[in-house]
Amino acid sequence: MSGWRIPGSRVIERQTIGNAKGANVDVYVAGVDIGSTMTKVVVHSGTILAAVIGPTGPEHRRTAYKVILEALEKAKISLEDLTYVVATGYGRLNVPFADKQMTEITCHARGVSSIFPNVRTAIDIGGQDSKGIKIDKGKVINFVMNDKCAAGTGRFLEVIAEALGVRVEEMGQLSLKAKSVPKISNTCTVFAEQEVISWLAMETKVEDILAGIHDAIATRVHGMAQRVKIEKEVVVTGGCAKNVGLVKALEGKIGYSVLVPPEPLLTGAIGAALIGEDIARQAIDKGTPVRRAERRLSEVTFFDEAASRGNRS
């Protein structure tokens, strides 16, 4: 399996991740964050040994297995070396080799706090949802979440990027060139797309429209996060945190600058790994064996697949 990569995956160099400090014990733990769009794996032992990001796709049970194999290979350890695995994200229940499942809210808070210890508010804008998390001393004290509407999520950006014929990755930089910011009044993705098309018809510049779109998302996300009362320091995470235009628009609404982790996709997986490390350490300190779930690192098959194979043989 050496040199083996899954298509579309990306190994994150350690120095770019930031200093996510955990307990200094000689245990290997992994955090697996299966988001709606991307799967993130972090292998940790005192410091991050490896981090891999791959697309989730429709078969996330299989993806989780492949991404963790890649991360283990990168960390140069085997699965048997792992003391504990915590799964998070919306696909957390589909990680058969995880010892524990935690929600991404708790894991994000832990991960963000490890990088920015003074964080009070984390705003996570992911592929299909966005959330505001109020944090006190690394613990969640309140949260708010939007998971029913594409507005204010990465999906919204994807739809608009397609309508404007630009790549999602370049939206942020492009929007910074805007001379004026048109008001996008619809926050419904479908209607906003129509609105964008009508702005195009009026020969509005693409960068201006992009700035308008970022402003619309920022307004929405800010309004939601304000329900937990945004306080300094504010950290923005999730795939959309990579969009510099959106982050700037959000700063405009909040009124001061926000922090973005070096790799904003990874905070959930980092948090999951650190929570796993806490559990392992508590057990070790007490001298009790670490309670594990029955581990099954095998490629998950789907019921219909297994059935059809059975029929053939």
């Binding site: 929600t103 809210i105 708790t106 969640v140 004290i141 998971d147």
Partner: protein, 387 residues
């Protein structure tokens, strides 16, 4: 071979799954069955006229397919669900429809339902106007309104509602309330003797049978639960506050995530039964006072006294008392989308509890099982936050 009659929780399960079963049996026996909505319908008067009142429940498992032609999609999803199943003929067995003015959505439901578009329009329908304030004049007004309702029922049934009949009826309902309070008492100890999921089923079962049968059933259930030996493991104790909860899906989701719902103030919960009706000289006035002053539904506004704090204590102090008495660790506000009645109060209630140190999870739902599943992450994160 005679079919063995099911009793206690077994009977509860049967009634929970077949909600119109008993009403249809009674109708076949010649009884008059009427559907009613909300906590504001004076059931005592209906029973005193010899009517079997059953609560109109929606169905979170049934997708709304017919109602949209008659009511906007921004109307209360619970009301849309009720209308939808009525349009599908599932409430064709009711002889009458009684709707109090809880909110404008119930008014719309009443108007559409009684307009002749359901397969069988109820022979009798009555709308009760309920004042939204709690001034002495409000109760006075409601007394007159209840008098009008009483006369209308007498005319329809041909049965005179005597003072004696009304007294007996009030006593039966007060007995029912006492039994429910006793059952809630079994949830006070930690761990509770029954789960919130079981309680939800019991509350539904009690609303779809006559009050005498409900009293008998509750007696059996209490005896059965008191005899329980196996005490479940302690979990995070929660209070659930909100609108219509007539299905276990949400409570099950909460309890499967590692909590126990130990007290619930929703349309079928404490709001509907906690306070007795006083038996005294003017029974209609006792009823009016109980329904307007004691049913703590946000549709009735208890006017501000001396400032905001006192107004909040006035309106939600009872909820805080429940939280303390039942030793809850957190509060879930379950608000049905587009329910202005609850939505407008939600920020205030949230703050009221948070200031008192209770974590609050505010969830907004579409009154549908498919969307309840999406709440899982929120509920789990909330419990992780409390632990």
């Amino acid at each position: 071979m005679p079919v063995k009659k099911r009793v206690g929780l077994d009977r509860v399960q049967e009634l929970y799954e077949n909600r119109d079963m008993r009403a249809k049996e009674l109708k076949a026996e010649g009884r008059t069955v009427m559907g009613y909505m909300c906590c504001l319908a004076p059931l005592e008067i209906m029973s005193a006229a010899g009517i079997v009142p059953i609560r109109i429940l929606g169905n979170v498992k049934e997708p709304v397919t017919r109602a949209d032609a008659h009511i906007e999609t921004i109307a209360c999803p619970y009301v849309r669900s009720c209308l939808d199943i009525a349009l599908k003929g599932k409430y064709d067995f009711i002889d009458g429809l009684v709707v109090p003015h809880t909110c404008d959505n119930t008014y719309a439901l009443y108007a559409i339902w009684s307009s002749g578009i359901v397969p069988i329009t109820p022979k009798y329908h009555h709308y009760i106007d309920g004042p939204h304030m709690t001034f002495p004049t409000s109760v006075e007004y409601f007394d007159v309104e209840l008098g009008r309702f009483k006369e209308s029922l007498e005319e329809f049934t041909g049965n005179k509602i005597t003072n004696q009949k009304l007294t007996n009826s009030i006593r039966l309902y007060n007995r029912n309330r006492a039994l429910l309070r006793e059952l809630y008492g079994l949830r006070k100890q930690g761990p509770p003797l029954l789960t919130g999921t079981e309680m939800t089923k019991i509350l539904v079962a009690c609303r779809v049978i006559p009050v005498e049968e409900s009293n008998e059933l509750l007696g059996e259930v209490i005896a059965e639960i008191k005899n329980r030996r196996a005490i479940p493991t302690p979990k995070t104790r929660l209070l659930v506050y909100g609108g219509e909860i007539d299905d276990t899906a949400l409570i099950e989701l909460i309890e499967e995530s590692g909590a126990n719902v130990v007290v619930d103030d929703h349309c079928l919960g404490v709001r509907s039964f906690w306070h007795d009706v006083q038996v005294d000289k003017n029974l209609i006035h006792s009823l009016g006072a109980r329904y307007i002053l004691n049913v703590a539904c946000p549709r009735t506004y208890k006017q501000r006294e001396r400032g905001y704090k006192e107004a909040m204590d006035n309106r939600f102090g009872y909820l805080m008392e429940f939280a303390k008495e039942y030793k809850v660790k957190g509060v879930i506000l379950y608000i049905i989308r587009y329910c202005d009645t609850f939505e407008l109060d939600a920020p205030g209630v949230r703050e009221y509890f948070q200031k008192a140190g209770y974590p609050v999870l505010h969830i907004e739902d579409d009154y549908s099982v498919t969307t309840i599943g999406q709440l899982k992450t929120r509920v789990q994160a909330f419990l992780e936050m409390i632990d």
